[in-house]
Amino acid sequence: MGGAAGTGLRALFASAESPIAPPRGPEREVLSVCDLCSGGCGVRVRMVGDRAVRLDGNPLHPVSGGRLCPRGQAALQALYHPDRPPGPLRRSGPRGALASFQRATWDEALDAIAGRLAELRRAGRPEAVVLVTGGGGAGLGPRVARRFLSAYGSPNDVALHRGDEAAAIALALTQGVRAVPALDLASADYVLSLGSALLEASSAPVHATRAFGEFRRGRPGRRGKLVHVEPRLSITAASADEWIAVRPGTEGVFALGVAAAILAEGLHARSFVAERVLGLEEERDAAGRMRPGLRAVLERRYRLEEVEAETGVPGDVILRVAREFSSAGASLAVGPRKGPLLPGRTSDHLAAGVLNALAGVVDAPGGVLVADEPPLPAWPAPPQTVSAAWRERPRLDGAGAAHPLLASDPERLADAIREGAPYRAEALLLLEADPAFASADPDAFAAALDTVPLVVSMGSLPDDTALLADWILPTSHFLERGDLHTTPPGVPYPVVSLARPALPRPVNDARAAAEVFFALARRVAPDLAAALPWRDVDALVRFEVDGLFAARRGAVMGTPFDEAFVRMMERAGWWAPGYRTAEELWTRAHAAGGWWDPFYDHGDFRRVLRTASGRLELRADLLEAAPAAEGAEGTLALLLFEPLPIAGGTGAELPFLQAILDPGHDAHWETWAELHPDTAARLGVAHEDWVRIESPRASIVARARVTSRVVADAVAVPVGLGRKGGGRWASGVGANPLRLVERARDPISGLPDLAATRVRVARVAAPGGRA
């Protein structure tokens, strides 16, 4: 009796233990590169047998320095995600549901897609094929895909925005250089962040966070001060020494108010401005037109009282910031990039640029740097088989026409596809791109996809767009492939990171994107195969490393001591590479994680000021833009932000990241809407109530968080949740506020303006019974 009861109890408690088979086999470490965002961190994987059990930063890697962000730490959850497709999937039912897809082999998939591409080409309509690239990393996949497309003969190479465009365009307008500015936070003494997500979803989060640590406490006796200006107490604001709450959309006005005060008190870097800056006073530009001078514009439009009234910041605070900014060693102003989907207004980036110019920190330590391109070899020119007539065809998205600085215009692409004008799109190839979720107009994209006869989605996990595709081709996780990554945006020195496949074979039947395009090229036409003349990714990497060797500069990644040595030598004009042959470079670079050139030649103005005048042009003409229009009665400004774990529209698929959406609220697994207590009281909304947020375009439901972390008359909502795809953990969790965004364009760059939308907020009952 007692025995039987004991056995029963034991049986019950056997269910307490999780039956987990530990990994077996020898241990080894493999170096790779994280591509979960654009950060390009070198990583070190701990392998036990054929399993990857731990990911850490590669200590020799100059970007990660042995550290990782939470996404990188969660990368193993992406590798072993239970919802990665078993292999290629072909749609056999209605669009929009994973259940409509059936397993196919790679041969079937490649034959079907290549067959259609070959047909279109034979019919003389290669331009009907559109490539949309997204994704974070700067690996070979997108580069091979682009080469494939251009050799194929289509101009429609559309890259989804990744948040750096506004800053890059501002740099192009003022310095004449097409690059993402690299901010030397680590050497700065004073940083004025104009609503930037500097310490959250920046373009290279680990690099930026490391720099911040250095800025604050890395230099004995020299502690940097961070002042953050934004209507919301973001995570960056929490780390700042001071949070200056401005009215929504007035960060740029604040910056120009500070600039006006600096000029009025004569605190600007006089010699730098005199020698290198154009446009302080009224001047004639290269085309002979008169441009207003900055001084006049500031005096006319950004007087202290006006800025005070517009931003809601007391004048004495503006004056104090102006004095601090102009007296503290290296002062750096940072534009309002809030993440890969939220580039910020170009005018605000220009305003930040004005402050940096006045502080004289252009191409100076602690200032705005411009990275050199890594000296990779040019790929051999493709055979001239593509007809000249094809080259003349316009791009579907018309990029570059209305706004010369805009390289891609995904929203216009969606319209063009729907309208079928200037011509019909017959095939859409998406590479790690999810525009039906993560773009300025997700609904328009979803509708556009419906009209394209062949949609192919390539990614490691079926995303929202994949659900609308005809083919889902599973691409490998970064730990499953060899790769070569170039400098991440925002890093000031050229970096080439090398990755070896960590897993002996992919978890499922996934393939590297580059390999998929190699295979497609071989199937479509011989000239395409010749345009990609490498046997496989390994051969391509070898080709690149050979070119790197030939460039005779830089060094294999190494310890800080190695770094200092290389810097010293290069400063003295020497090159001491530590490798004698390309083969040696190949071996040693793979063993260390890659190659880089740590030497930065500050003050090389011929390189960084490539305007017609050879000077930094302040472009006061663009700064005279009208103030933000007052919203309609009863509407609130919609403030979007991207929490680091789910920035760029990915990350929600990993449960470890869903659990840490915002440490300030301890928010997880749901979309929330931050409302100031006064605003909430006016709307009759209590903390944790459900609210409907409604714009003229759409409405979403979110959970109210009543908090003084946001100013009154605004509602702040995180971007990154509300997905249909993305697997079990992302699908159906939260809501996508990008759907609310009204079509508006940044007048300077032509980028979508995601900060112009006003919404109504009202209390509702719990959505779908889930309380």
């Binding site: 999780s18 731990r54 193993l76 995570i235």
Partner: protein, 232 residues
């Protein structure tokens, strides 16, 4: 004998939470879904605690995020109350947790003033093939027992084994917990608090050093460095 301790510099910390995820990955913490998370049942050995305060003028709030692992108290209120000695303090400063002995009474969890102890409300699950990412160094806990930050004690054992195999003494920097290793801001340091030359001892002597809820006499081995002033 070393007294292992951690220093967390709040002036460097950006609240990125890499440490939080690193800890979960390193220690085979099971992922929780939305339902468990909403019910306060997601296990996390390290959390960021938001201390929000209204500013001096009562208008502008400030938010201080404090990474909170087990403080490995010198006088831990948790170990005293455990009826079966399933949680104990050892001479190197670790407050250890013995899973096969824990009866799951959750007395230690209620006694810990820092609320850093987690309980296995259900059997941990990993949707296949997620279980392949589990570390072989840390046991998977059964349902019904309490767990918490161990200061990555297994890493000390591994480092010791390595040193012993190579016939040399253990160096301080060979033993680094997962959270400390990944922190991109270098906000966390770890080492022997009793060794006056160690990094943590040096930082611990800083003017900015303080410990959480020190007034309770818990003598934590986690030291925080307060945010500094400009130029200080």
């Amino acid at each position: 004998m070393a007294r292992w301790g951690m220093v967390i510099d709040l002036d460097r910390c950006t609240g990125c939470q890499a440490c939080v995820v690193a800890c979960q990955v390193e220690n085979n913490v099971p992922p929780a879904g939305p339902v468990d998370a909403a019910r306060g049942r997601a296990i996390s050995w390290l959390r960021l605690v938001p201390m929000q305060s209204t500013g001096p003028r009562g208008t502008r709030p400030a938010l201080q995020l404090v990474p909170l692992p087990c403080q490995h108290c010198g006088r831990p209120p948790c170990t005293r109350v455990c009826p079966v000695r399933a949680t104990q303090k050892d001479e190197e400063g670790f407050v250890a947790q013995i899973y096969p002995r824990c009866i799951g009474c959750r007395y230690c969890t209620t006694a810990c003033p820092y609320t850093v102890r987690d309980f296995n409300w259900r059997r941990p699950e990993w949707a296949a093939p997620l279980e392949r990412s589990l570390s072989p160094d840390v046991s998977v806990r059964p349902r019904g027992v309490v767990e918490k930050c161990t200061f990555c004690h297994h890493r000390l054992q591994l480092a010791r084994d390595r040193a012993r195999a190579e016939g040399r003494p253990l160096q301080d920097e060979e033993y680094v917990p997962a959270c400390v290793q990944t922190c991109p801001a270098l906000a966390m340091s770890f080492g022997d608090l009793d060794d006056p030359r160690s990094e943590v001892a040096r930082l611990g002597r800083s003017q900015r050093a303080f410990r959480l809820l020190e007034e309770l006499g818990t003598e934590p081995n986690v030291i925080y460095l307060a945010k500094g002033e400009w130029g200080a």
